[in-house]
Amino acid sequence: MSKKTLTLMSKDKQLFNIEEHLAVQSVTIRNMVKEDGASSVIPLPRVDSETLALVIEYLNRQQAPEEDEDYVKKFVDERGEIPTLLELAQAALDLDIKKLMDAACMKVADLIKDFTLEEVREALRIENDRTPEEEKAIRDEFQWAF
């Protein structure tokens, strides 16, 4: 008999097949398989199909162990779009795929690291939800760190 295949379903109900021994790199999927045998479709209601395709691509990689670090880094680096990167980071965390999660989170952190407040706000499209008075208060509170 050939290797066992699992079917994953994205938030928008698209189905993806992946060999079980590759899928269980995700601790979340491994636990689900252990719990109920998971002979049927595994729903991943927080992951959209675009992101799930990326995750599957990652899980299917055929890297020699010594090249794996570089591969993960490159894989994440290629996700230039911030929303894609955020989705990927979230999915990696939800699915508990350690290396991918670490690399994606590091890349998210790079969007903040060493930038000024204004640059961070602009790059991440964060809306200032404070009144000018509240903003001044919080700036004063954190003044010591600067």
Binding site: P43, A89, I126, D129, I138
Partner: protein
């Protein structure tokens, strides 16, 4: 199937514009493990959601561990309030409240006239020489001392300017480096970097007495200012260093009639410069106005009474200490808007934290803390607190958001006070020579003090004492009650 019940009912919302604030807290917490205090502060300020995130104990536990690895056991035992614990320790270290800092000593041949402290070096001026001391090496117990010997007469002023603001050597230098600029009685100003003199600025006719505290101008056209015994203020370009040295002198500003003794760049657009001459006359210059007609650069004048002691500009105000009082002058009107009482005796030193509305003056036997918001207008303000029990004049003063440091040449102790209340937090012996404080430089967690002893008419010695509180652990009992005998 049991697992199917978690299928989402609305799956059409597959937008490609996920924002960082849509991520859940756990994911974001994972991301923050790569960020430092500065980055996290930016996050907290950027929006309320991030502020909640940054309040998390796990973040502060990590920051605490990274900053003070030896204190790990303590912070692991804290179940909550980790951020508060971090802040409390940070504040106490900033206020030197500990009795066990790392201490290093270094003998110097003579009396130091000025000390500067940068992230990795101590700069001491000794007559015509500057000695630079590598701090990392010093902490390893090794003395790595470099001497800068090009000046031929006494050094009058030393400044460190951030290299990144100067547009000098920018492509080869790390971002946080400083250039050292010194003025001397040999009529010259020298710029030093990496242990050697990179440029000599010549133009003053007579000793150069003072350098501006900051750089003037914006972008690429940065200049610094100097004042001399020739009563002129001169502006020097930092962008023409190299072959075209003759162009470094950008302008000579005439108007003062006596040697310049104080100089400060205003926070207002950084193109205004204030100078005070020995006869207590104050002039404001607009450095952006072309120097072809000298008089047009001077945009305001006033005068203070008594010997000029210290000056600092902030926003549109100039704070000047002279004689026995200090006052604030509004740059736009050149009117005095605040003045302290003159009945408390001669001043020897002055420092100010304009952002927290506090100033400090050094007098004879004590220093005084002032709240500059109180009694603005015509009335004369009284001190908010007296920092007492010094021997002799308080000639050296440092003020930062956490502490005030005071010292004088007749007192073998340097004293540390809480900046907001004037309450004493510690006292430090200047050096084992136990003569007095002939200079010090302090920053967040560190202080270097200089002592001097004249043994007889041809023998003298100086001693520097460097203390680093960053990893101190034993809290002194001094913050509550203090008496000299406790040491």
């Amino acid at each position: 199937m049991a697992s199917n019940q978690s299928l989402p009912s609305t799956s059409t919302n597959n937008d490609s514009t996920k924002k960082i604030t849509d991520m859940d807290m756990d994911s974001l917490l994972h991301c923050t493990s790569h960020l430092n205090l500065q980055d996290l502060s930016n996050m907290a300020v950027s929006c309320k959601f991030f502020n909640r995130l940054v309040s998390s104990d796990s973040i502060w536990r990590r920051l605490f561990r990274e900053r003070w690895p030896q204190q790990e056991a303590f912070i692991i035992s804290q179940a909550s309030g980790v951020r508060e614990a971090y802040m409390a320790r940070y504040r106490a270290l900033q206020q030197f409240k500990f009795v066990d800092p790392v201490v290093n000593h270094l003998y110097i041949p003579t009396k130091c006239s000025d000390i500067l402290l940068s992230k990795d070096a101590i700069y001491v001026s000794l007559g015509p020489r500057i000695q630079t001391l590598n701090i990392d090496k010093l902490l390893e117990g090794e003395v790595s001392l470099a001497s800068l010997n090009d000046h031929r007469a006494r050094i009058t002023s030393m400044r460190l300017f951030p290299l990144k603001e100067t547009s000098l050597f920018w492509n080869e230098a790390p971002i946080n480096e400083n250039v050292l600029v010194t003025s001397s009685c040999d009529h010259s100003i020298r710029l030093w970097w990496e242990g050697s003199c990179k440029q000599c600025f010549i133009g003053h006719i007579g000793p150069v007495t003072i350098l501006s505290d900051k750089l003037l101008g914006d972008g690429t056209g940065k200049v610094f200012a100097s004042g001399g015994e020739d009563s002129t203020v001169r502006l020097w370009s930092l962008s023409s260093i190299g072959r075209r040295r003759q162009h470094a002198l950008k302008a000579t500003l005439y108007g003062h009639e006596k040697p310049i003794v104080l100089m400060s760049v205003t926070g207002h657009g950084a193109s205004h410069l204030v100078s005070v001459s020995k006869d207590s006359k104050v002039r404001v210059w607009d450095a952006s106005i072309s120097a072809s007609d000298h008089n047009s650069s001077c945009v305001g004048t006033t005068s203070v009474s008594g010997v000029p002691v210290g000056m600092k500009c902030h926003d549109s105000l100039i704070y000047i200490a002279a004689g026995s009082s200090f006052e604030a002058v509004d740059l736009r009107t050149m009117e005095s808007v605040f003045r302290t009482s003159t009945h408390l005796g001669r001043l020897y030193s002055f420092d100010i934290m304009p952002s927290s509305f506090l100033a400090c003056t050094g007098g004879n036997g004590r220093a005084m803390l002032w709240d500059i918001r109180k009694s603005t207008g015509t009335g004369e303000a009284g001190p908010m607190a007296e920092l007492d029990e010094h021997i002799g004049p308080v000639t050296h003063l440092h003020m930062d958001p956490y502490k005030i440091v005071t010292g004088g040449p007749r007192d073998p102790w340097v004293k540390i006070w809480q900046a907001d209340t004037g309450k004493q937090t510690n006292m430090l012996i200047v050096s084992p020579l136990q003569k007095g404080c002939f200079g010090f430089a302090a920053d967040g967690f560190r202080i270097v003090t200089a002592d001097y002893n004249r043994i007889n008419h041809n023998r003298e010695e100086g001693l520097l004492c460097f203390r680093d509180f960053s990893n101190a652990v034993s809290l002194g009992s001094l913050s509550d009650e203090i008496s000299g005998s406790k040491f």
